[in-house]
């Protein structure tokens, strides 16, 4: 398999980086992708993360050639491929629906790309590829005879066998159940490391993006909200959208009036807080003070709050025991609710609903985000979200 990676690199002229330059796609009056520019380094595992309709799939389809950009460039190395027909691009796609050819057996499905390029002897390569995705011996079956997870791996093999410079994955794990999805996430990551091809993965599943990708770009309304390593995005989000889309956040609406030394003082609901200046995306005007629920610690009285920590007083209004942690909703003095996850380490006790409580956090774990002037209320992700919180359950 190392040969394959080497071969793929050989074919790359100067640099195989994939660059999108001012890429725009409009459907009528709707702008699906809005002046998007980014660079995806060769050999990286890149995830485009966003809710449905944010433009991530349209971006992917423009790279594949299935959608023509309204304006802008798709550069592979130094070559603009934006106007090439899809079959002329060194790019292959794993489709969300797999799109396996129902009239061909698995062997011929995988060999399809090779045959179209006039390669006669395909058996050895196909067998090697089926081994890579752990489907040896399935060559003579039809797609309909395979399970969803197996079909997904055939779709992957069918794309990878062509040694594309870039492999596009369009929510390839969406149709699989949770357990299989986890398994395939690990497998995809393994295969990507083995073949060394650039993977561009589109997903709406923040956990999937964080598990697999080196770099995650969070998309919203056709634009990239933030781009970076998963840990950076999670620990220090750039916008309220990212803070809430990637995991959960408590966002307190407040006002900042410029930094004072190394800290930025913030007034929210008449209470003064402070955030280190290097954790502030802005230092004046309307802001959100953000803290992740798992960064909150719960104690009985203000006297127990360690020095250097900020705190909020409140009353427990809901407690959900989910095994690895207990998730509390706490009503603050000014009426909004914040959520706190307390790891189930065996120390401490379960707090009953109605108990007065003090939530405190290390100021270095908070972050400050710009807030639109109109958005006055606090924001917290609903406690009973359908997606498990990052890090809490995985």
């Amino acid at each position: 398999m190392r040969q394959m990676g080497a071969k793929a690199q050989e074919r790359d002229t100067p640099a195989g980086d994939l660059r999108l330059a001012n890429l725009t796609k409009r459907f009528g009056i709707f702008t699906a992708v809005d002046d998007l520019s980014l660079t995806i380094p060769q050999g990286s595992f890149f995830a485009l993360l966003g809710a449905s309709g944010c433009g991530k799939t349209t971006t992917l389809r423009m790279i594949a050639g299935l959608e023509e950009p309204t304006s802008g460039q798709v550069l592979l190395g130094d070559r603009d491929i934006a106007r090439l027909r899809p079959y002329k691009r060194p790019v292959n796609t794993v489709f969300q629906s797999y799109a396996l050819f129902p009239h061909l057996d698995i062997h011929e499905n995988v060999a399809f790309g090779l045959r179209r390029r006039g390669i006669r002897k395909v058996t050895e390569q196909v067998d090697r590829m089926l081994a890579l995705v752990q489907l040896e011996g399935y060559g003579r079956r039809r797609p309909a005879q395979l399970s969803g997870g197996q079909q997904q791996r055939v779709a992957l093999a069918r794309a990878l066998i062509n040694h594309p410079q870039v492999l596009l994955l369009d929510e390839p794990l969406g149709a699989l159940d949770l357990k299989l999805r986890r398994q395939m996430q690990i497998e995809l990551k393994r295969i990507q490391t083995e073949v060394g091809i650039t993977f561009v993965h589109v997903t709406h599943d923040q956990e999937e993006a964080m598990t697999m990708a080196d770099t995650v770009a969070v998309m919203n309304a056709g634009r990239i909200e933030q781009l970076g390593a998963p840990a950076d995005l999670y620990e220090y989000p750039a916008t309220a959208f990212v803070a809430n889309f990637l995991g959960q956040s408590n966002l307190l609406a407040g006002e900042a009036a410029g930094s004072a030394g190394t800290d930025v003082p913030v007034t929210a609901h008449g209470v003064r807080f402070s955030v280190p200046a290097d954790r502030a995306r802005t230092d004046r005007g309307p802001v959100y003070l953000g803290v992740r629920p798992e960064k909150l610690h719960l104690v009985d009285s203000v006297a127990q709050v360690p020095s250097g920590h900020q705190h909020v007083e409140g009353v427990v209004t809901d407690a959900s025991y989910v095994g690895v942690s207990t998730q509390y909703l706490i009503r603050t003095g000014w009426g909004s609710e914040i959520s706190a996850f307390v790891a189930n380490t065996g120390a401490g006790r379960q707090l009953p609903v109605g108990a007065p409580v003090v939530a405190h956090w290390d100021a270095r774990h908070a972050f400050l985000l710009p807030r639109e002037a109109g958005a006055d209320s606090d924001r917290t992700t609903p406690l009973l979200d359908e997606q498990p919180p990052v890090g809490a359950l995985s």
Binding site: Y87, N92, F95, P102, H103, R116
Partner: protein, 304 residues
Amino acid sequence: MTALAHVPTTSGQSAVPPPAPRRGRRRLLPYLLLLPGAAWLFLFFALPLLQLAAASLYDPSGSLSTGYSLTWAFGNYPDALQAYWPHFVRSFVYSAIALVIALLMGYPLAYGIAQKAGRWKNLLLVCVVAPMFTSFLVRTLAWKTILSDNGWLVGLLRDVHLLGADGRLLATPFAVVLGLTYNFLPFLVLPLYASLERLDPRLLEAASDLYASSWAAFRRVTLPLSMPGLIAGTLLFFIPATGDYINAELLGTPNEYMIGNVIDSAFLVRLDYPQGAALSFLLMAAILAVVFLYLRRAGTEEVL
């Protein structure tokens, strides 16, 4: 295994014994449902066919007035073939040409309606089927008017010198093939449409992503996946077209007569029942042979 072993003993003493008579009736039900159709087929297909087979072996010297006797006259077959083989050849040649023209027009039409028509899909389908609302005979007579020597079409073609001064369209092989093509086109288009409509356009995207040009994607994906409709459509077109006699009768001359015209006249004009019956069986055998060879070549997997 233990659970299985228990079943016979417990069911013997159980409060609800297996309802044996009802199960028997249930097993009979499919056959009961088949009965009306089977009886119909027997009375109106199998019996007449037997009668026709017998007629084909009658003594050829008999007549309606003197009566026929079954003399196992197998000689009727070679005699009929000897006399009318050119009509057989003509039938197959005309319907084959008509089929090729219908395919060239019908495939793009079916594809367009199925994949590209969007909200016009149903309207276009109605347009394909609409001619069926008038009778076969009326439609063919309409063509007779259109193609007639003093009609506007012949006039126009003569004016632009595509047709000689005394050139004509009616009463030519062209008119017969045109009639066949026109009358049976919907039988080709509808099954093709049905299978092309099911074609997932994402498969074509996948093919194009995997280095297939538009032509390669058509050959390797669209065509194989439309095979069931294509085979059904060509059979539904070819079989009735080969046996047809209306088009040759109304749009051609005796020089364009197909085997259907000969059978028609054997039964209704010449009253030569043995020959008519023998020709009918020969036509049936020839069509079956062609269809069988076709299915063998086209790959029966998709059909059977």
